[in-house]
Symmetry: C2
Subunit: 355 residues, 2 copies
């Protein structure tokens, strides 16, 4: 990558729930905000995109179209869609990056399909068993990265160990904090607690050069006892979805409480407003998107329902990750950890019954 050249971000313009409208609007907002600091390659149906750009007065912005005739929808099965729709905006976009014609790829489309295409087309970094994604939670006193956020349900200890390394590097990039604290999500703080997999992962993390602080419990996530909290994707998915359901649940509870009189109704109206305000940074559009950690390249996944601001932030995250060359840092850290702990790891892997 020549630093004198502008970075080129391939945007899956057909991916999200409100594509291509929000994708185009978000791209242009990102370019306006940064004064054309990079280039956007909008990948998708040429005619539609041309119309959108015209409507949005895109003149003077460093934005161009790369045609792709097909669209992978949210309902498509990830693997089948990739086989059947060879000319999808998703596949064309990732291939642009793989061929060196773009420096990063971003998409608010079908998460499973983006993950599959990323792993298939870009490949994995050496030493990574399975790519993963993490999610930032706005905890007390700062961000907490929960990783794996739902990608890999059955994990071996080695995978949790890799999530910790990759999560730690990504956390440093986003928050600028060196040597973030890393913890294992568990049912108790003491060493030796938890499932066989977690007990083995604990040993690996303890022997690593990460800033490992031991186990944390479910109640510690939002208290931010650690910067990076590691779990398998089964637990991560369930916790995140449980958490997502809570604002709606509280709203329902408050509404029922408000039914018992006009004064209560008034108070509850105010309460809902202040709750909404107090929780506004839980909006996924603030984060924009998350990189596929462990992929041999840069692929950012956004929320399907991203607003133009969400798309803008996803693109800016792509620029940041591309400038930093996240995958190169992960590769370096993993190869270092592999060479240091080769003997130890293979010994531990042999011990683990599930292998």
């Amino acid at each position: 990558m020549d630093p004198s050249l502008k970075l080129r971000i391939a945007v899956d313009a057909m991916g999200g729930d409100f594509a291509p409208v929000n994708e185009v609007a978000g791209s242009l907002a990102a370019l306006r905000e940064t004064n054309n600091a990079f280039e956007v390659l909008l990948v998708g149906k040429e005619q539609e995109l041309r119309e959108q750009l015209q409507k949005a007065h895109a003149e003077g912005l460093s934005c161009s179209i790369v045609p792709a005739t097909e669209v992978i929808t949210m309902e498509d099965s990830p693997t089948a869609a990739l086989k059947q729709k060879k000319d999808s905006s998703l596949a064309v976009g990732i291939r642009l990056h793989q061929e060196g014609k773009a420096d990063a790829f971003v998409s608010a489309g079908n998460t499973g399909a983006v993950l599959s295409a990323t792993t298939l087309i870009l490949g994995r970094i050496k030493g990574v068993s399975r790519p993963t994604i993490g999610t930032f939670l706005p905890a007390e006193g700062g961000l907490c990265l929960l990783v794996d956020a739902g990608t890999n349900v059955d994990c071996r200890p080695r995978q949790l160990f890799e999530f910790a390394i990759m999560g730690s590097i990504y956390y440093s990039l986003v928050t600028k904090k060196e040597r973030p604290t890393v913890a294992l999500l568990n049912v108790g703080e003491e060493k030796g607690k938890g499932t066989e997999v977690v007990i083995e992962a604990f040993k690996m993390l303890e022997a690593s050069n990460l800033n490992f602080v031991g186990n944390v419990e479910g109640r510690d996530i939002l208290k931010k006892k650690a910067d990076v909290v590691v779990c398998d994707g089964f637990v991560g998915n369930i916790i995140l979805k449980f958490g997502e359901s809570i604002p709606g649940f509280l709203k329902g509870r408050l509404t029922r409480f408000a039914d018992e009189g006009i004064i209560r109704k008034l108070i509850v109206g105010l309460a809902k407003g202040s709750l909404k305000n107090a929780l506004k940074d839980f909006d996924p559009n603030v984060e924009g998107g998350v990189p596929v950690l462990g992929a041999n390249g840069i692929s950012i996944i956004g929320h399907g329902s991203s607003t133009p601001t969400g798309i803008k932030n996803m693109i800016l995250r792509g620029v940041e990750v591309a400038q930093f060359q996240l995958h190169k840092h992960i590769e370096k850290a993993l190869s270092a950890s592999l060479s240091i702990e080769q003997t130890e790891l293979s010994a531990t892997a042999g011990e683990y019954k599930g292998e």
Copy 2:
């Protein structure tokens, strides 16, 4: 059990964080409320209990003391404590039940120790791999039972299947609903989603005569898509503790929001009050206690910090479970399911890699 005789409930009077004060107060409240409908055997240090009873004016209440000289504390290691403290209120109380001198045992003491002592002294019901406990959550439109709530971290498919049977029977007892709906907690609704263990458990549940409604996701727990939600104790523990942390987290958020002006402060004060009211049935003292499902007898575990009301409700739960003879119903259901599915189960168990 002669129905003409009063039920006798052995209460671990030294177990909880505020023992024996709350234990005695709760016992007497239960007897007053039911007009001495049963007997309480307070198990613990004789002199201390005698003093408490005197202070509390227990005359005329069907309450007596069974001496036990030792106390297992919250800090004690469950297995070590049971070996070292042979005359603990916990061990003496469970033995009373095992010997037929009490019809149920209840304790707000060290959960691990109560579980161990229950399994050790009362034994398991035939067909139960490992006893479990579930927890009721006040979901939208009624109670949801989450089982396992943290007892067994590494579970085989067969165990999840047993949790479903036992949880279903217990749910019916508490809510009087026949054939409650049962679901597996998973990362997606479709069959075939999730870990190998969960996929196998799905097949067993599908083939059972339970009212199995398939998979539910983390977001469905509080929406009550099913009456009984089955998971392993690793996931159950983490979700429950994560959920417990949310009121405190919201309070912190609201306080920070309130810092930005006097009007906001006022609104937030009102908001906190209505939130507290709207969530008051999340207080574990309402439920009182939960039975050890799968034990060959009746042992109820309460929250360590139980108030006198919590202790009272734990005792009344003990009476209810003893009247119903929960363990006999579980035994019957499990032996029926075992005989019907013997062939199928052994085939499935062989398929499962982790076995």
